[in-house]
């Protein structure tokens, strides 16, 4: 992307060499280039510093546990034994559940609002959805505790009757669970998916629709086969943003997930997430190793986000190639 301004400078080349640097600077191109370059570079610098800090401050824990930190599941601050696996598991499972519920609902709603709904309804609903995206996460947490969990308690017997034969819906249900956290996260990320996907779908050029309709496609065929594939990249972008939010969500998750660092197959069992344990234990973490282990968890969350995002991107690239 940084290439664009450079080409502008070189394309205007022949006239330029005669001008001094200051003149070019005053002309605006150079200044714009510098300013936007600094803005882009600062993002890299912030990310780099973040990783560096996390890496440096987790040295005690990395030195003591090495890679086994990632695959052991004891979290015992009293005896200074720390393993991240239950937190990684909880983070991945809750985010996966959130996407599983959030993507169909979010993308479906975006398609309806952008393509099929009358403009008046679409605008009104979109306004409400954007309001939802601005609600603080502690409110979603409270809604989870006081509204969602009582509802889940009611439907839990039916869930068990239907899926009880799988290990995923077995065991006792206390209300707080990985499943509850997944549902709360889904509610939180849906506004992001809808709001961005709708914008992207609406920005698909009208020619595309007209061409498809002219060839005899129905309205739904036009939407599903032409408009949505055209907007695919933007929709994927909205899903990545949603994923990032759900991986890093702290407050709402800790209120409904049960905060128990154990790995159980059942989604009805309590769990824990990386962000939640950092928020819960950092202030009272006494001892260098304990603090260091919590900081290493931050590093793990960072790496996890990169790995999951990378995998998802590779999957899309792979699917594109397969189709071609």
């Amino acid at each position: 992307m940084a290439a664009t301004p450079t080409t502008v400078t070189t394309s205007a080349g022949p006239a330029r060499p005669a001008q001094g640097y200051w003149q070019r600077l005053r002309g605006g191109d150079e200044a714009a280039y510098l300013i936007t370059f600094m803005a882009a570079a600062s993002i890299l610098a912030i990310t780099g510093l973040l990783v560096l800090e996390l890496y440096a401050n987790s040295s005690t824990s990395r030195g003591k546990f090495g890679w086994s930190f990632l695959i052991t599941s004891t979290w015992d601050p009293v005896n200074d034994q720390f393993g991240a696996l239950p937190f990684i598991y909880g983070t991945v499972v809750t985010s996966f559940l959130a996407l599983l519920m959030g993507i169909p609902l979010g993308v479906g709603a975006a398609i309806f609002l952008a393509e099929l709904a009358p403009p008046k309804i679409s605008d009104g609903l979109t306004f409400l959805i954007e309001l939802l995206a601005a609600v603080p996460s502690v409110i979603y947490g409270l809604l989870g505790v006081f509204v969602l969990i009582p509802i889940l308690r009611e439907i839990e017997p039916y869930l068990k009757a239907a899926f009880g034969w799988t290990p995923f819906f077995s065991g006792p249900f206390y209300g707080v669970s990985l499943f509850s956290a997944g549902v709360v996260l889904a509610v939180m990320i849906i506004p992001f998916i809808i709001s961005i996907s709708r914008e992207v779908i609406m920005s698909v050029p009208g020619d595309q629709r007209e061409a498809a309709l002219a060839l005899g496609a129905t309205r739904w065929e036009t939407t599903w086969d032409i408009v949505v594939p055209y907007a695919k990249k933007g929709i994927m972008g909205s899903i990545f943003l949603a994923l990032a939010r759900s991986l890093g969500e702290t407050m709402a998750v800790t209120m409904v997930v049960g905060n128990d660092p154990k790995i159980k197959a059942s989604l009805l069992a309590p769990g824990y997430s990386i962000a939640a344990v950092i928020a819960n234990e950092f202030t009272e973490a006494t001892g260098q190793l304990y603090t260091s282990a919590l900081i290493e968890l931050g590093l793990v969350l960072f790496a996890l986000t990169i790995v999951i995002n990378g995998m998802a991107r590779l999957m899309i690239i792979g699917a594109d190639k397969y189709k071609a």
Binding site: D76, P77, V176, E284
Partner: protein
């Protein structure tokens, strides 16, 4: 023109002397959240008395308080658990002098529960609480619980354990007590602001635990006494070391401190499972952590004077905020210890 300059200069001079004569002293402190309401009341009252002296207390948690006072970023710290030997050594290595503990008020943990069909106050023994939190007592009609609560119809339901998910002094007091009454707890989980819980769900803060208990049938958890009092919650009684069944109250908490074994000179003492007949067994002090040497003479005097005032007038304000006041013997001993600050 010159006249104007003269006036301006005079104004500036007047302002400067005005600032100098007021000489605002700001004392920074950080630490425990549990005594925060009490401390902010004290600091406020003290500021009213001496308007040129202000305290800035950040309730960032006991662990944070110990860290900050060791780093030297605050004038004194505060903690719900005493500093351990390793932390004391770290402080001494860094500064070349020690740090003093001053107990300020007392608090206690109480068991809270939600058992279907039980409306009377339940009694818990130390063994029962340890068994429940170890996951060995799993039903409400366990013989250990039935024995302690004759005549109460306890259901054959599974017990759901709720504990704090955030690191907390409340958890320190609770696990310190369990460690004293159960060897198995001491080896398996131990005492700390966060421990490796054998069973249970985690709730964030006192409100998280009490909310979880109220929502989950047949559950049990623990909260700070003050929190339970303010929210008028139903709490369990606990059988103490002397065999008496005691309800947590300001009096029974102070009794625990009074009956506790001889107070050591550094005040680092745990008063859980205290021997007195009226002692509530899950009680604890909370401490100010004051460096032995305070170089700045005005701050030195201000902090000493404040501790003196806190031990005298300050103690009369505790009951209004539902904190238990210190026993007289401890106050006397602490007043003497103030001289150790140099």
């Amino acid at each position: 023109m010159t006249k104007r300059i003269v006036i301006q200069a005079a104004l500036i001079a007047a302002l400067a002397t005005g600032v100098a004569s007021a000489q605002q002293i700001l004392i920074n402190a950080a630490g425990a959240t549990f005594p925060y309401p009490m401390y902010s009341k004290w600091f406020d009252e003290y500021h009213k008395k001496f308007p040129n002296l202000a305290f800035n207390y950040q309730s960032i948690g006991s662990g944070g308080g110990i860290k900050q006072v060791t780093e030297g970023t605050v004038d004194f710290g505060a903690s719900d658990g005493p500093m351990n030997d390793m932390q004391l050594k770290e402080f001494h290595d860094k500064h070349g002098f020690g740090i003093l503990h001053f107990p300020t008020v007392m608090g206690a943990d109480v068991p809270v529960y939600n058992v279907a069909g039980v409306s009377t106050d339940l009694t818990f023994t130390g063994d029962a609480l340890a068994g429940i939190f170890l996951g060995k007592i799993t039903k409400w009609n366990d013989p250990e619980l039935m024995k302690a609560n004759p005549g109460v119809k306890l259901p054959a339901a599974d017990i759901v354990v709720v504990h704090r998910s955030d690191g907390s002094g409340t958890t320190y007091i609770w696990t310190d007590y369990l460690s004293k009454v159960s060897k198995e707890w001491e080896t398996k989980a131990g005492r700390g602001t966060s421990v490796n819980w054998p069973v249970g769900l985690g709730g964030k803060g006192n409100e998280g635990v009490s909310g979880q208990v109220q929502q989950t049938p047949n559950s049990i958890g623990y909260v700070e006494l003050i929190y339970a009092v303010q929210n008028k919650m139903k709490t369990g009684k606990v059988k103490n070391l002397a065999g008496a069944v005691v309800e947590a109250s300001l009096a029974s908490v102070t009794a625990a401190a009074a009956s506790s074994k001889e107070m050591p000179d550094d005040f680092r003492v745990s008063i859980t499972n205290a021997p007195g007949k009226d002692a509530y067994p899950i009680s604890s002090f909370t401490w100010l952590l004051i460096p032995e040497k305070i170089a700045d003479p005005t701050k030195n005097k201000a902090i000493k004077d404040f501790v003196k005032w806190m031990l005298a007038d300050g103690q009369t304000m505790t009951s209004n905020l539902a904190y238990a006041p210190l026993p007289k013997a401890v106050v006397a001993k602490e007043t003497k210890a103030i001289a150790k600050i140099q």
